[in-house]
Amino acid sequence: MITKDYIITAAEGIHARPATNLVKLTKNYSSLISIKKGDRTVKLSSLMNILSLGIKGGETISIIIDGEDETSAIIAIDAFFEEELKHL
């Protein structure tokens, strides 16, 4: 299992379009991927789950990946939070 924290650098936080990209990214991996904010953890496979967390710019979230392809999944997640999110 891999757990990694990210600070949301995009001012608008995780709104509908970035959340959609996260859901699409999740579909590429068999691992169970979850996102945690505060004491709430939800699966990344649902857009509404992600939006329900109300993640704003500057907040810290954790990504939890558990499965056979977790090592390749975390590389894609890194790329999303560290680069792609700024442009969405």
Binding site: T20, K24, K27, S45, S46, L47, M48, L51, S52
Partner: protein, 134 residues
């Protein structure tokens, strides 16, 4: 294959498809019926055209705007069978959850979860903000 039909009174179907495309990108296998916009085409005829694209191996999820409305009634009368699922009173969150649903998860499970999620998105925001500030 899972396919989708958005059937509404007037241009709502086209409008919500525009929102859907903006958020999740262009999606294949989404058909639209904008009922009663053209007096020369009946809803039944439009539906019959859509159904020519649906095989026995496909699953069709139909989203209608109003339970008890004529569009929903026509879908029940003309389209409902084992591989067809009708959801009335849909909203954008519900639509997104069903269309983005995992192909390996049974459609009935996806629809039931999406209805819960769709209802949860209907919030009196002023009240929510007041509660958060208290």
């Amino acid at each position: 294959m899972r396919k989708f039909l958005i059937a509404t009174h007037g241009a709502f179907a086209k409008g919500i498809k525009s929102s859907l495309d903006m958020i999740i990108g262009e999606t294949d296998n989404v058909f639209l019926i904008q009922a009663y916009l053209d007096d020369h085409i009946s809803v039944e005829d439009e539906l019959a055209t859509v159904l020519t694209h649906i095989t026995a191996d496909d699953e069709l999820v139909i989203f209608t705007d109003l339970l008890g409305g004529s569009v929903n009634n026509i879908m029940i009368r003309e389209a409902l069978k084992n591989n067809v699922h009708i959801v009335s009173g849909f909203n954008l969150p519900l639509l997104i959850e069903v269309i983005m649903g995992d192909a390996g998860t049974p459609v009935t499970e996806i629809i039931e979860t999406a209805i819960i999620d769709g209802k949860e998105q209907m919030i009196y925001v002023n009240k929510l903000i007041t509660q958060q500030n208290d």
